[in-house]
């Protein structure tokens, strides 16, 4: 990896989302958001669900939705191994809204007992990020 640029691969189990060079890559880590810049030290980190910001060479910064997985930073570049990656245009906002409603219902917990709280929380988080991301791009157009 040369000093000026970051070689980035964004992979999900089903496809290759991006392969190329970038100026920076922002990721939702388990311990908070981080931004990877060229020359980053080797690292492996677990990812949370959230928004990934990719500043590819010669392109405006693009925001992608990501849930879970890992990022592997090595001398050869950055490899994002995510469970799910969606471009903003691919987000199904209706589905996300429904998921959010479901999760909130579970968390307020009028009817169900013994629910999986962490699971509902992460579902809520995923849905909220999806809606937020899909919402921001709507404004731009």
């Amino acid at each position: 990896m040369s000093q000026g640029e970051l070689t980035v691969k964004i992979l999900s189990p089903e496809r290759i989302l991006f392969r190329g060079t970038a100026k920076s890559l922002g990721l939702p880590g388990m311990l908070g958001y981080m931004t990877l810049l060229p020359g980053h030290a080797p690292m492996v980190a677990e990812l949370d669900s959230g928004v990934m910001t990719l500043e590819a060479d010669g392109m405006a910064a693009e925001k992608l939705f990501v849930t879970g997985g890992f990022v592997d930073v090595s001398g050869e570049g950055v490899t994002v191994l995510a469970d799910v990656v969606e471009k903003t245009a691919e987000i199904n906002i209706e589905r996300a809204k429904k998921a959010l409603g479901r999760a909130e219902e579970r968390l307020t917990g009028h009817k169900v007992q013994g629910i999986d709280v962490p699971r509902a929380l992460s579902a809520k988080k995923r849905a909220a990020h999806r809606i937020e991301l899909a919402g921001t791009t709507k404004h731009l157009h």
């Binding site: 992979l11 189990p13 080797p42 492996v44 980190a45 592997d72 930073v73 090595s74």
Partner: protein, 288 residues
């Protein structure tokens, strides 16, 4: 000499069969192309993942986790048999079952009982026929494999492994080499045996881990199992369509041969009948 009418009827029936096998071949070819594409699309991820696992294991030290530590006290193991739902795919399933039978017999000789899970209807049928202990049977598992499905299946296996008192979980499936060659294999899924991590020159062993290595290793291994299950599903799907494509192709070819033979027989019979009639007429005329 069979009746001309019978030959004709058989000829029509073989031709119809040929049409069906040909159509099935075309359908399988389309499905195969998709499955093959999926296998290839999943490759960068699994390669990247393997590299990462190697690093994490190297850095994470030798602390055994609940997914890696060897057990051996229960004398019970679990075998997942991944087959197709439908037949007409050559020796794909029977080849797999043969390998599985050998495996189970070997284990039985070593005093290890084997419980089975069937992914695919054929596997379920087989397990019932040979009277293996069948815990679960699922269908449509390899039908357009999706990652979330693989995750569900993997979680189920991990739970069974953790709570069911099994020493190991194996998976038997048909590995996809090409449309013409599929190899039945059995792989150990659990406990996870990480690839012997070797120190490569130039690769730093001191890498940052977030969260700390000890906490990172479990989610990594859990994901590794999911990735492996996903790969198994993809390979099984590609193998199925590949095998069906080739077997339907050869069925079509065989039908062609049969049609050729029957046509010859039919024409010969017809010619013989005409000759016989002519002889009858001429000899009748000569008798006058």
């Amino acid at each position: 000499m069979p009746n001309l009418k019978d030959i004709k009827r058989r000829l029509v029936s073989v031709k119809n069969t040929q049409k069906i096998t040909h159509a099935m071949k075309l359908v399988s070819a389309a499905k195969f192309a998709r499955a093959n594409h999926a296998v290839i699309a999943a490759r960068p991820y699994s390669n990247g993942f393997e590299q990462m696992v190697e690093k994490v294991v190297l850095a994470g030290g030798e602390t055994p986790t609940r997914l890696t530590e060897a057990r051996g006290q229960n004398k019970r193991e679990l075998l997942v048999l991944v087959s197709t739902d439908r037949g007409l795919c050559g020796s794909l399933n029977s080849g797999l079952f043969k390998v599985a039978t050998r495996f189970v017999t070997e284990k039985a000789n070593a005093g290890i009982a084997m419980d089975t899970i069937a992914w695919g209807r054929r596997a379920g049928m087989f397990c019932r026929r040979v009277k293996w202990k069948l815990l679960l049977e699922k269908e449509k598992v390899t039908d357009k494999p999706k990652y979330p499905v693989a995750r569900g299946l993997a979680e189920e296996l991990v739970t069974m492994y953790m709570t069911g008192g099994y020493d190991a979980v194996h998976v038997a499936f048909v590995e996809f080499k090409s449309a013409l060659s599929q190899v039945p294999v059995i792989k150990q899924l659990l406990p996870v045996v990480p690839k012997e991590a070797t120190k490569k020159p130039g690769v730093p062993t001191h890498i940052l881990m977030e969260p700390v290595a000890a906490k990172l290793i479990e989610p990594v291994l859990e994901r590794l199992i999911v990735a492996q299950v996903f790969r198994v599903l993809l390979e099984a799907a590609a193998s199925e369509h590949g095998a069906r494509m080739t077997s339907m192709d050869s069925a079509t070819k065989n039908a062609k041969e049969v049609v050729k033979k029957l046509t010859l027989q039919y024409n010969r019979g017809r010619q013989a009948a005409i000759t016989k009639e002519l002889i009858e007429i001429t000899s009748g005329a000569a008798a006058l």
